[in-house]
Symmetry: C2
Subunit: 191 residues, 2 copies
């Protein structure tokens, strides 16, 4: 996927006033490892495009347990999809020193999307691809065993298993770190 600024630069045809005012809405920021970019309950929803590094989004349940919703390595877009009560439900933080482009959800919807050529069927396609990924994950979660989930993860995020702690992968899969460790061990030994 292209970053926000790259996407905009593809459409220089438009007048430069509109273009530069949109460009001002996009901030480039760097965050140190372990920095929190968004807290659940924040009223401003932002979209982050990862240029370098690694982010994750997650919830914390009543018992204080984290549940990772997604990871976002280079080239990924990450944001809280929830729009209830206008506030966010997910935390987003940096698992590595990370460089991002940021845009407000409001600006994204009102300025960015209408500006780019994506405001035709291509834009719907991008979102449908995203929904396809979620559909696959839901089906996996209702049907697959721990080891099958792990294998699904490695396909979805190639090369990421070396960059994040296993306990976070377990959290993403909806199992405990101990269960993941066990299941990986027995699988390796079984070969």
């Amino acid at each position: 996927m292209l970053s926000f600024t790259e996407e905009i630069n593809q459409h220089k045809n438009s007048n430069s006033i509109e273009l530069s005012s949109l460009m001002k809405k996009i901030k480039r920021q760097t965050f140190a490892k372990n920095t929190i970019l968004q807290n659940a309950g924040d009223e401003k929803i932002s979209l982050f495009y990862v240029k370098r590094g690694l982010l994750r989004s997650y919830t914390i349940d009543d018992k204080g347990k984290e549940h990772i919703f997604m990871f976002a390595p280079e080239g990924w877009l990450i944001a809280d999809g929830s729009i209830n009560s206008g506030a966010t439900e997910l935390f987003i933080d940096a698992l590595e020193n990370t460089e991002v482009e940021v845009i407000d959800q409001k600006d994204f919807l009102e300025l960015f999307l209408p500006f780019t050529a994506l405001n035709d069927s291509k834009r719907a396609e991008v979102m449908m691809r995203r929904m396809a990924v979620m559909q696959k994950r839901i089906i996996m979660l209702i049907s697959a065993s721990a080891i099958e989930r792990y294998e699904h993860f490695t396909k979805t995020y190639p090369g990421i298993s070396q960059r994040v702690p296993q306990k976070m992968i377990a959290s993403y899969l909806g199992i405990t770190p101990e269960a993941l460790s066990k299941v990986k061990g027995t699988k390796a030994r079984g070969k």
Copy 2:
């Protein structure tokens, strides 16, 4: 949500030639209970708007087991979100005698979306709402117990638990019918 035709009728401002050619793309059909509307592997992806009745979408795994992805009662839109290899991955069938409006995905993307006023930020909002629902379900699946999942289901589909067999609800939740029966029983007795 509005049906396809209702959506179109909101935009009579456009010229009537374009409007009537679009209208021709939308078919109204009725399907008897237990009829299959779409098989996994079908090359034509259709979108179904349910005017009356009840549909569901589901996969069948290697062991022949069904996994229900979603239900679609009156007012819901149902379609296979997967776009891999241009073919569908889900089955869609009728749980009741059902009346729908149907449109091809291709026509939906190329004609319907550009036609309606939804081709601005509103359209993105509709899809974001959909993604928010999926986000909630994923978080529920990685974090909630059987009974919590059931309660989440009754909130998502109020009034539907009386219209579908329990074993299908169990399938939607990713648990066995026996487990759902037990868990409901102990909960009722526990009160």
